[in-house]
Symmetry: C2
Subunit: 340 residues, 2 copies
Amino acid sequence: MPTPTLDRFFQVCLPAIEEELRLAVAFAGGPGLEALHGMLAYHMGWEGETSGPNASGKRIRPLLVLLACAAAGGEWTDALPGAAAVELVHNFSLIHDDIEDNSDLRRGRPTVWKIWGIPQAINAGDAMYALAQLSVLRLQHTASQPAALQAAVILQQTCLALTQGQYRDISYEQRHDLALDDYWPMIEGKTAALVAASAEIGAIAALADHETCSAYREFGRALGLAFQAQDDLLGIWGDSALTGKSAESDLVTGKKSLPVLYGLEQKGLFALRWLAAPVEPADVPALARQLELDGAREYTRQRADELTNAARQALERANPQGEAGQALVQLADWLLGRNM
Amino acid sequence: MPTPTLDRFFQVCLPAIEEELRLAVAFAGGPGLEALHGMLAYHMGWEGETSGPNASGKRIRPLLVLLACAAAGGEWTDALPGAAAVELVHNFSLIHDDIEDNSDLRRGRPTVWKIWGIPQAINAGDAMYALAQLSVLRLQHTASQPAALQAAVILQQTCLALTQGQYRDISYEQRHDLALDDYWPMIEGKTAALVAASAEIGAIAALADHETCSAYREFGRALGLAFQAQDDLLGIWGDSALTGKSAESDLVTGKKSLPVLYGLEQKGLFALRWLAAPVEPADVPALARQLELDGAREYTRQRADELTNAARQALERANPQGEAGQALVQLADWLLGRNM
């Protein structure tokens, strides 16, 4: 559970984020376009079967935008168009990723392409992309024209980085010679770039100076990388990956995660087994133990720790102010599982 | 053939457009990303088998940006980032449309998805989209910050309109009750929006006043609609649609074009035959004749004429200056087949 300070921000900011998102997505609708709007509203978790908070995701990225804005001395409400923009970029990329990865389910519900087909789903993702960019440009009305331009450039560079990370991820599926060095560029694009942009755009909306904006960016980047390393750890040694749901273990899905790439590079017993044949759920406990014996669990934990420390240090350099500053520290701790 | 004045602009501007496009697309590359860049360079017609001008398309939209800028009193070189942006948006949408329409060929070459598969092609289109938006934002360096913001908002609204038009187009495939009223909103999004944006962004890069920018926008919009009506006419009664290549006739591909929708609304002999069974190439000459007897050819020609006149009038209101102004008039005539 989030701490009281962070929880207060959740309670105030999340409804405002949701309202801003609904306003942004409404631009896709209009006469004869109700069904297009409906696809986007379904994906955002607002419509259709089992809609609601569980279908929406946690809205961590937009919250990070608002907290960074407030902690950098701005009014968090001024950053709302930026907050909506990063969440819409995240969701545009999910709609397309689900097609590219052939995923039937997202947050427990059928994916957009499973319901409406690939052509409409590609197009709905493109519409979400355009809505994101229109949203970030509205920072010209709440912050300033130069801030809006700066944030728009950062968001576009982030979208480019997302596609570069996704290009690597897709192309890795064909490769059997992957090394640790292949991991970080993929994660920088797929995960870290958008978290870095979220923190930076918040600071930009507060009209913070260049150095402060850079420190927030670095905080977001390290936080994103640390979170991914942590997530990779749980994907193999987390409770649900080892027990009941071992079919969902990263060892079964074949995900090229940090521990797996480390394990392959050791060329030990894990690597031998991994390269021999696909992993069945029944193999998971023994293979996870072998991967741990080959040093991958310790290695991944160390990387996650280093990155967490780097995130802390960057946040100190950003010198976050007030309750929002405390909430940012708590958000990082919460995301990295430090208070569980 | 273009007239001498227009031809001079072609010769000076096209190499500059190509250079700006190459600079813009280079941002997608980098270590380990050569193949991603290669997909985009292939689609742009620069690499791969049968690369060259025929594989690149005519670059009409970026030329329109530059001519509008010069005719509105600006330096055409200042508009180059805007010119590259509209061409990249056009090509992003082609990469995705080819997947959505299941098209194997584009400008006589295999489409991106046919070569690299659907996942990489969706992602390559997304990368092209991001490059387009980064390009338009560079107008802040060649024109001004407010001009760049204004152009970026217009380009994003255009991208949203493209997806709305494409949504209609895809959803029309399932419908048998289409009427003339369904045609124009689809074409406004799929064709007219980007031509309108091209002319308007050129005027914005020239820092023209609001009224002039609107006149250029209206010129582009009417030009785009007129061009589409003309194209629909040629798709049924053009030489190649009626003779040798009748397999490519819009009557065979089943395209919901303006004459077809008019013909369906007459509920005459054409409509009876169209709704009865798919059209074979051998049926084309007789069916085209029937559609003409039902009044569709004359109706479409009248709409094209009205729209052409509207484009002329809007261009007069824009009061285009100098040789670029003459070239714009000639470009419109050339596109609408008036000097052929």
